[in-house]
């Protein structure tokens, strides 16, 4: 946990020498606490104090980075238990498990399908982060071949599921980049630790409870490993919710560095569990790496969207790209609506027009991601801005009419808009998107 200005002040020389550029040690301490200054600016701080201060300023949950031939993934560094308190920073990685006992052609096929999967969600490209290759065969050559088969197709990040140091070595040799190695346990931790250390890769520690995890991370830290990941050995919805919450709390509230690492989970491995819904729990509640056993585009899409939603910064809502959106294949006689580029606003309007079954054009104005009323109040959705977007996006050429339907909440804009857009008729639409269907049926009889 971060130190307060006063706690930092106690460790400074308290000479007010001004060498740091601040008038007093207290002022410097306050700046340090606010992360607006760096400790190295003080030439007089003792080595002992510097060590303590640096340890305290390290993130409570370590940022662990892995890398494939190309794709990179960083997980950890979380600072809150609830997203509204600040935000969740690093989206958990979503991986597909590939078992080396499959025929090479089957591995190639399944990896190719999952690796090619990519879907556009409000302008964001969603895809899986990589593959977890499992040495289920127990055969080093077979495992290495499987890893090679995966990297031949995908340059995303890898997790190597290798139960012994020998298998781990074989997998690491075949892999590219910086994979995550799974896993060290109470029996093999020393040898696994040496392998991970030699290869410079992060290592998962696996134990059934908090004490077991704590003991293992302690030993591996002594061995010189810094990048660790926790595997609390998935047991299912209830136990995992409690275990993950406990780990997050210990790291954030008790400042327990030995448990301040990301968590890895295997929702498909829980007997009688529903892989998708357990994965949903892990995404919302504190997992850092989620390894799926099955790939299905429909399911993966849902989980990737959930991850995007939960990890959206609450201070910065998702925006939609401003522009002209076509709904239900509109022709030039279809009605034209205008709304703002706040994603929820856009979705509400687009969904209702779509649901009405009638074609329409939707002009999404650049209102800096605000809803209609907020944007209007802030001067980001006024007649001038709307008129500019009508011209910029060249909507006039797409239509055989000059009618623009504005949201009912900003009916006051209609006069000004008619001045800004000479020759256009401004129609006042409903206040709520839900009434668009009935509005269209009465106000836009065939052909306007």
């Amino acid at each position: 946990m971060a130190l307060s200005g006063l706690e930092i002040y106690k460790m400074l020389p308290k000479t007010n020498c001004k060498d740091c550029g601040f008038p007093t040690c207290l002022a410097f301490a306050m700046k340090l606490a606010a992360k607006q200054a760096e400790l190295k600016d003080c030439p007089h701080v003792t080595a002992e104090a510097a060590e303590k201060l640096e340890a305290a300023s390290a993130p409570p949950i370590r940022l662990v980075e892995i890398q494939g031939g190309n794709g990179k993934l960083a997980v950890g560094n979380e600072t809150v238990l609830f997203r509204h308190e600040k935000t969740f920073y690093h989206k958990p990685g979503l991986f597909l498990r590939v078992v080396d006992t499959l025929e090479p052609s089957a591995i190639t096929e399944s990896v190719k399908q999952a690796n090619d999967f990519s879907v556009d969600y409000v302008g964001i490209d969603l895809h899986l982060d990589g593959f977890a290759v499992e040495a289920a065969s127990g055969d080093a050559a077979r495992f290495a071949a499987a890893v090679g088969a995966v990297t031949a197709i995908s340059d995303r990040s890898l997790i190597l599921l290798a139960p012994t140091p020998e298998l781990a070595k074989a997998g690491l040799e075949a892999a590219k980049g910086r994979p995550l190695l799974y896993a060290a346990n109470a029996e093999n931790w020393q040898a696994m630790g040496e392998v991970a250390k030699a290869a410079g890769v992060p290592l998962v520690v696996s134990a059934a409870d908090v004490d077991g995890l704590n003991e293992l991370t302690g030993k591996l830290r002594e061995l010189g490993l810094e990048d660790l990941v926790l595997d609390p050995q998935s047991l299912g919805y209830k136990d995992d919710l409690q275990a993950y919450t406990t780990l997050r709390r210990l790291a954030l509230k008790k400042n327990l560095r030995s448990l301040g690492y990301p968590i890895i989970s295997f929702p498909g491995a829980v007997e009688g569990g529903d892989e998708t819904l357990l994965a949903a729990q892990y995404i919302a509640k504190y997992s850092g790496f989620v390894v799926l056993d099955t790939f299905n585009p429909a399911t993966t899409y849902a989980l990737l969207v959930l991850r995007e939603n939960i990890f959206t910064d609450p201070q910065k809502p998702i925006q939609v790209q401003p522009g002209i959106y076509e709904i239900n294949n509109p022709d030039p006689s279809a009605p034209l609506f205008v709304t703002t580029n706040f994603s929820i606003t856009y979705f509400s309007v687009a969904n209702e027009v779509e649901g009405s079954g009638l074609p329409g054009w939707l002009l999404v104005a650049d209102a800096e991601g605000m809803s209609v009323l907020t944007a209007w109040a802030a001067g980001k959705f006024d007649a001038e801005r709307i008129a500019k977007d009508v011209k910029n996006f060249g909507i006039e050429e797409k239509l055989n009419h000059k009618k623009l339907i504005i949201p009912g909440h900003v009916s006051v804009l209609s006069g000004e808009l008619e001045e800004e857009l000479p020759g256009w008729e401004i129609m006042v639409g409903p206040r709520e998107a839900v009434d668009i269907g009935s509005y269209l049926k009465t106000m836009w009889p065939k052909g306007g």
């Binding site: 004490d211 919710l241 819904l277 939603n309």
Partner: protein, 321 residues
């Protein structure tokens, strides 16, 4: 070294609310449904009491809906043709509560009537012994007309009546007061608005033990994160003993999830979205499961298959595994 597991102790708790009245309580329900009572955050049994699992409701209609996805109508089959049959089918599918939404118009296109609403509610009450929620079509004038009639028809049943919103709650609250029912207090994804409407309803004399809060949610991909965080904030406020946030929370992921393109349609969508039916079912179930983790006490669903899946999540969260 043994690590001490940190446990949060809270000063407040969620209020317990009971829906439905049995024969000796003045109603005719075969069973009642109590929700709320939590003294900690969702499913952290190691530090507090969670006396009731979240209740799963299924939405039924007074007549076959014209705007529902084909997938839903296929799942309900002939039952969707008749509210009483639908109520029975929903009970058989494992619902804890029936959520009956009345339509704006009758099958012939004319405005829905008080007589029709009475008849439908009567038929549903006779068909199933489950507790019942009844909500209007969502237009103030018609809602009020229908709900007053429903409240009178089902006097003493402790129905959950909706939808009370900031702009229209007085008539429905008065009807609930007069005929011993509860109300659903719905506000658009905002902590303060939620609290304020509970205060206004309570000020009319309706006890807090008869108010369920609906903070509204968005579907997965369509604003779920707003609803999720508002619910987390409301629940934290309740545990910090902010009295007017201590109502159990109800959300409608079924309605929200089946409104969006991902679930509703199978044609004209990107091929990467995958199999339509799988996607639609995942959409509803993922939306519902996520909201369970933000503190939902009543989850209103639409597809019987989703109810089964979410039930197994609830059972696992409650009983272990």
């Amino acid at each position: 070294m043994t690590i001490e597991i940190p446990k949060d102790k809270w000063s407040g708790h969620v209020r317990e609310v009971t829906l439905g009245a049995s024969a000796n309580e003045g109603g005719t329900r075969a069973r009642t449904l109590t929700v709320g009572g939590e003294t900690t955050l969702p499913y952290l049994y190691f530090e507090g009491e969670i006396p009731h699992p979240p209740a799963l409701a299924l939405e039924i209609r007074d007549r076959k809906p014209e705007d529902w996805s084909k997938l839903l109508l296929e799942a309900w089959g002939d039952a969707a043709e008749d509210p009483a049959a639908w109520a029975k089918a929903a009970e058989a599918a494992g619902a804890d509560l029936l959520y009956l939404k009345l339509s704006l118009t009758t099958a012939d296109g004319k405005p829905n009537t008080a007589e029709n609403a009475r008849a439908v509610v009567r038929a549903v009450l006779e068909a199933s012994g489950l507790p019942l929620a009844v909500v209007g079509p969502g237009q103030a004038e018609i809602d009020n007309e229908l709900m007053v009639a429903v409240a009178e028809e089902a006097v003493g049943e402790r129905l959950l009546l909706g939808t009370c919103e900031e702009g229209n709650y007085r008539t429905i609250v008065a009807a609930a007061l007069a005929h011993n029912h509860l109300v659903q207090s719905r506000t658009p994804m905002d902590v303060n608005l939620s609290k304020q409407l509970v205060i206004l309803i309570n000020d009319m004399g309706l006890p807090l033990e008869r108010i369920i809060m609906d903070p509204t949610t968005g579907a997965l991909g369509y604003g779920i994160e707003y609803g999720y965080s508002v619910m987390e904030r409301l629940r934290l406020a309740a545990l910090q003993d902010d009295k007017m946030t201590q109502q159990p929370m109800m959300v409608t992921p079924g309605e929200e999830a089946w409104k969006v393109k991902e679930s509703k349609v199978g044609e004209g969508v990107p091929v990467e979205w995958g199999d339509w039916e799988t996607r639609a079912l995942e959409w509803e179930a993922v939306t519902a499961t996520t909201l369970i983790h933000s503190g939902a006490d009543i989850i209103v669903l639409r597809h019987p298959q989703t109810l089964k899946r979410v039930r197994s999540v609830v059972n696992a969260l409650t009983n272990g595994a």
